[in-house]
């Protein structure tokens, strides 16, 4: 399912209400590249009626639009398409979105300032400053170090304190103890006029740790808002019809099975229900992922969250809110996400082993030096150097640094990573599960070429179709927009829900809709009837329009490529068997299943996972969301609706299926580099710790060794971009900062 032409309903759902009553929407525009695009987009959007302002962010390739909430929602996406840009809706995130990242960057800046200036003073001391100057420099260093530690160290202290209060421990505990002990020892030594102080060690340690922490935060998965987006699909209230014919607006949780509900055209179905009166075209993509609506009438059941497109209906509720289809979907998402949280990231697994070892090592060093040498000061100094040298700087950088480099590479190729840990999982994937509509196909019905399209007839059809929101009408209207339009007033066109449109032009009655309704053609069953619309003049057939949902251009090639690389491929679709089988043979997918509801997709995925397979789910629709969350790793195209994108780990904005093999390849390379980095970090500790334990290392040398090991890890990670690119390292550094900040704003999720 695709929302290349998002309805105003979708736009409102994806927008945020600002305090002054205006709405803010964010659109992802992957095609923008230059200053020309910026001014074109900003000017083009600001001139739309109702739009207050439009602001492009070129780094994240998004535009943020503020508009007045009135009867008419501005046609943002159509306007962007008109300007020549493909665009889709993104969920809005507030400015407060990533306060944590901003806090980390501020702490990092202050720590960098402190470390640099104290190092400058230390160089003076090492160069052989006189006793007075040394004391002065030490006091100055202390004066700089204290506020820096208080400001920047809080990141670690507060987390360590929370862990200690809960009577547990984490990586931040040895870090905090190490930093505080180093500072206290240095302060004591400065006051006692001793020759060594280690303020530089404490601050540079903090600086390096904060780099790792910031990168890690950037790559961590944000809280999903797929579930809340699903909840938004349910209307807050519904119109209940009482026995005496009076109507009342009730909130959705007060609707009980058996109540009669009235659902207007354009409204969403609040709870599962059976239609008792009226017929309408209903968008049931939440169930089957198909873009073409189904014509439902009396006696048909409708699921909560479906969108009633054309006519008002009255329906009897068959379930309460919490037993309805949408609530089931939400429960499935929650279960799936709970299961995914059980995945332990490589870095977390290591840090669990690491922390007790470091604690024990430092404590042992302290005790043995105290007992053997009987010198408290010496014992503390050795313990501190063990803590500093084992500080998980290199380890803290090993994984996030690679993730950031991978994210940068993928972003350039048009793929967004939503969760750094997903790279680790993606590298192990052996089976790829595809959805059909909107994933392997474009998801938007298109007028097929082989029709004999009479120009005048097409113009009439297009003019009529522009008054309907049915996907076929949109496709027709789009095509005829290219030629001279026929003017039609709204009151000339009547829409017959489930049937089609009727219009009177120059005394001639035109009908556009289902063939059996418009031209009394015999009803054909199954696929043909569904993808065909007739135009008739005074009851006589003028033209038949067939619609197709094209395969994405690269679908066949990509599936072949993946199979050649020994991946199992599988297609799970909510579409009818007939359509799925013919499509499967066209693109070359050997195994497929059709007619699957969301719960059945999840079931198939959990079954395969249980049998030891590692699945990558590629899907887009609302109906795929639980499956995306349940799979080991997941990808969605950028054209997917909000909920689909939020449930996936990766989003390919360029809508090119070649992104799938590319992303897997990148993930595998990333995993190799992570392994190398971690091996190196552990090796470094294995060598450095015994030396520190023997008291052969001063805290200063420990800090230098630790910095050097961090640098090695960083440089190794830079190998990621190496090879083809001619960019210099300086440029890479700039790109890195860009990604860092861009990530803070991008949440396609």
């Amino acid at each position: 399912m695709s929302y290349a032409n998002a309805t105003s309903d979708e736009l409102i759902l994806a927008s945020r209400l600002l305090k002054n009553g205006q709405m803010q929407s964010e659109l992802s525009v992957p095609g923008m590249k230059c200053a020309g695009c910026i001014s074109k987009i900003e000017k083009g959007l600001s001139t739309l009626p109702g739009v207050v302002s439009a602001r492009v962010n070129l780094s994240t390739k998004r535009v943020s639009v503020v508009w007045n909430k009135s009867a008419h929602t501005p046609p943002l996406i159509d306007a962007l398409n008109g300007l020549g840009f493909a665009a889709h809706l993104s969920s809005v995130q507030g400015r407060t979105e990533d306060n944590e990242l901003r806090r980390l960057i501020r702490a990092l800046a202050v720590a960098g300032f402190g470390a640099g200036n104290i190092m400058m003073l230390s160089v003076g001391v090492w160069a052989g400053a006189g006793e007075d100057a040394r004391a002065l420099f030490h006091w100055l260093s202390a004066a700089i170090a204290l506020p820096v530690l208080i400001f920047s160290g809080r990141v670690f202290f507060s987390s360590a304190w929370i862990a200690l209060k809960a009577r547990s421990t984490n990586m931040d505990v040895p870090i905090s103890v190490g930093i505080l002990l180093t500072f206290a020892l240095s302060l004591y030594d400065t006051a006692a006029g001793r020759p060594h102080a280690y303020f530089d060690a404490a601050t540079s340690l903090l600086f390096f740790l904060l780099i790792g922490r910031t990168l890690d935060h950037v790559m961590r998965a944000r809280a999903h808002n797929a579930i809340s987006a699903l909840q938004k699909l349910a209307p807050r209230g519904a119109t209940v019809v009482h026995a005496d014919g009076s109507t009342e607006c009730r909130s959705i949780d007060k609707i009980k099975p058996g109540m009669l509900l009235r659902i207007a055209a354009g409204g969403r179905i609040p709870v599962d229900a059976v239609i008792v009166d009226g017929r309408s075209d209903i968008d049931v993509s939440v169930i089957n992922g198909e873009s073409s609506p189904e014509t439902l009438k009396q006696g048909d059941s409708v699921a909560a969250g479906s969108l009633n497109l054309t006519g008002p209906i009255t329906a009897r509720a068959t379930a309460s809110e919490k037993d309805s289809f949408l609530a089931d979907m939400i429960r499935m998402m929650e279960n799936a996400e709970g299961a995914r949280h059980q995945y332990r990231r490589i870095a977390d697994r290591i840090s669990d082993l690491y922390t007790p070892v470091v604690h024990l090592g430092a404590l042992m060093a302290f005790l043995s030096w105290l007992m053997l040498a009987g010198d408290l000061h010496r014992a503390v100094a050795v313990a501190v150097s063990v803590l500093i040298i084992t500080c998980p700087c290199a380890l803290g950088l090993a994984v996030p640094m690679v993730q950031v480099m991978a994210a940068k590479k993928l972003f350039r190729a048009g793929v967004m990573i939503k969760d750094g840990a997903a790279l680790e999982r993606l590298a192990d994937v052996d089976t790829i599960v595809f959805d059909k509509t909107g994933t392997l196909t474009t998801g938007t019905p298109r007028l097929s070429h082989e029709n004999d399209v009479g120009l005048h007839a097409l113009n009439v059809a297009g003019a009529m179709a522009s008054y309907s929101t049915h996907p076929y009408s949109r496709a027709l209207a789009q095509v005829s927009r290219l030629s001279t339009p026929i003017r039609l007033e709204a009151n000339q066109v009547a829409e017959y829900p489930g049937d089609g449109l009727e219009a009177e032009i120059d005394g001639v009655e035109y009908r556009l809709g289902r063939p059996d309704w418009a031209a009394s053609l015999p009803t054909k069953k199954d696929a043909d009837e569904k993808s065909c619309v007739a135009l008739s003049r005074n009851g006589e057939l003028v033209a038949l329009y067939h619609f197709e949902d094209d395969a994405r251009p690269s679908a066949g090639a990509v599936i072949k490529k993946l199979e050649q690389c020994d991946f199992n491929t599988l297609m799970l679709s909510g579409d009818r068997e007939h359509a799925v089988s013919s499509f499967a043979s066209r693109v070359g997918v050997s195994s497929w299943e059709a007619n699957l509801r969301p719960a059945e997709k999840v079931k198939r995925i959990t079954e395969m996972t249980a049998s030891g397979r590692k699945l990558l789910m590629v899907g887009d629709g609302v109906n795929d969301a639980p499956a995306l969350a349940a799979a080991y790793a997941s990808m969605a195209p950028g054209s997917a609706p909000d909920i689909g994108r939020n449930s996936a780990n990766f989003v390919f904005l360029n809508d090119d299926l070649n992104s799938i093999p590319l992303t897997i390849e990148t993930a595998r390379r990333a995993k190799t580099l992570m392994r190398q980095n971690i091996t190196f970090a552990i090796l470094y500790n294995a060598i450095a710790v015994p030396i520190a334990f023997l008291g052969l290392v001063t805290p200063l040398i420990a800090a230098l060794a630790m910095s050097a090991s961090s640098l090695v890890v960083v440089l190794n990670s830079f190998r990621f971009g190496g090879g083809k690119q001619s960019r210099t390292n300086v440029m890479k550094g700039r790109g890195l900062a860009k990604i860092l900040l861009a990530r803070s704003r991008v949440q396609i999720q």
Partner: protein
């Protein structure tokens, strides 16, 4: 000696000014769209 104290203090306060400027520009969200900022200089405001 007193000259050195002065120089050290001057250099540190210059660093502090740099830090303050960074924090100010960061808080003012000037790093949120670096590509955009680089391109926007090319946009001619007068063109119509």
């Amino acid at each position: 000696m007193s000259v050195m104290v002065l120089l050290v203090l001057v250099s540190i306060s210059m660093g502090a000014v740099g830090l303050a400027v960074f924090l100010w520009s960061f808080n003012a969200q000037q790093y949120d769209d670096m590509d955009g900022a680089a391109e926007r200089v090319l946009i001619d405001d007068d063109e119509e």
